[in-house]
Chain length 309, copies 2
Amino acid sequence: MPHARSAPVTVREVGLRDGLQILPRVLPTAHKLEWIRLAHAAGLREIEVGSFVPAKLMPQLADTAELVAFANTLPGLQASVLVPNVKGAERAIEAGAHAMLLPLSASHAHSLANMKRTPDEVVADVRRIVDLRDAKGADCRIEIGISTAFGCTIQGRVEPAEVLRLVRAVRDAGVDRIGLADTVGYADPLQVQQLFASCLDAVGDTLSCAHFHDTRGLGVANVFAAWQAGMRRFDACTGGIGGCPHAPGASGNVATEDVAYLFASMGIPTGLDFAALLALRAQVAQWLEGEPLHGAIWRAGLPKTLVPA
Amino acid sequence: MPHARSAPVTVREVGLRDGLQILPRVLPTAHKLEWIRLAHAAGLREIEVGSFVPAKLMPQLADTAELVAFANTLPGLQASVLVPNVKGAERAIEAGAHAMLLPLSASHAHSLANMKRTPDEVVADVRRIVDLRDAKGADCRIEIGISTAFGCTIQGRVEPAEVLRLVRAVRDAGVDRIGLADTVGYADPLQVQQLFASCLDAVGDTLSCAHFHDTRGLGVANVFAAWQAGMRRFDACTGGIGGCPHAPGASGNVATEDVAYLFASMGIPTGLDFAALLALRAQVAQWLEGEPLHGAIWRAGLPKTLVPA
């Protein structure tokens, strides 16, 4: 295990990207700016603010450059953006994002359906993007999110050996960080421990993000299992928004406030202000009235043993 | 760890007792009989069918003797009943229950409020009940559920040393089984691992049940953590019914179908038929129309990688 049990945990808020991209409505930019402001005030220091995909394809995220610019005014905040290809990477660098997240699907079938390229073609693009970033001398971290790492709704089983192969390939391509994502909510805690452990063995601390959906109720258990394997950085969405187009009614990413509660309950520092996270959730619930929100801790509140004096 | 990782897991359905006791409505006996029949058909072999408390205090559970009699007609089914005192124990033995569950609160304040006795007075009653059972030569297993083992809504913190003291005291009193219960949903996975591990060290396999509420979203993670500590038997409620009077809107016990899914996803045998569990949940939802049900897996269904061929 590369980190002490008491080492702090980082939660990255991805609701503005992974949460909003699947909703039919477009949240006004003013609300997104307020979301970023409230998230920063709650102690979040990494926020995925949007994606540089064509606005035609995803009008929900068309204001990403404006959000990056605002995020860059907040002290200590690192804004990341999802980019699907070289063109998106150029826009992320232009916008001044701290980090760009490139998805790479471990499922061949999902990669073709979602990225229109094989995983190895995506790895080749990753190399081009690293070269581009280095040629420009840009200060933009490159992070790979290995999606469908625990299974795929199209292909079914995804072999751990294939995940490991891709993790090594992108490490060799020179990326800064790699994460494993359970894109469709197939992961179980034992699988999580095993896959994170073997990837940590292979690439060490370069593996530095765990991304879970709570589609089948195992999201928080999987966060715990990844933490046991040594992970100290987790993606989450305020209110567990997002869902999955392949699982109607299912919840989305693990809820930011639930992940914050998990670690608070275990005495692990996150730097997050619980009341402020719940206030953000309430605000998001109001903006997204009619959309299902998820998560658990907001209903019952903190235990008496955890309420600050 | 006393058990192999591949050892089968037993799930005890407690919805008819822990679930129904908190609901204002009285479920008709015919529905309860059908619940037991469907649960047995789904592979459940331990069911807590009710409680021998005065019908005046808990009219929801007044038909417990009739449910025990029916459960005893189903092959391989072990019916347990909750009993609060010596009088209840006598009724459990008369009814022919396979097991009686005696609650013992590790929180002094909760014990006084809920049982009108101190924990040590309850331990003295446990001794009387063991003597009574032995004197009658009755074939009724005596199991202690240590409630509020992870914290208490009245008292707040509950010391692990006090839980350990009580676990040893009831072991010395000659009970057959002991379980730890997170009655109010305060437990976190690290605390669960530590307390189960230290109690297993103290009394070995006599510690044989873990009972979690999902009040704050950590229920399934706590089941996983207890399993990691070596526990192989878990309480759960169909549809996660039950709630907590101290946490309005919060869910109750971990959902039977979610616990079944957790273990199925990890490849651990439970003997449970998933489709039959979901059918039972749908039936319970219909009987309890208007009551909030909980749990996650019923919404999204099994992953493609787990659906039986």
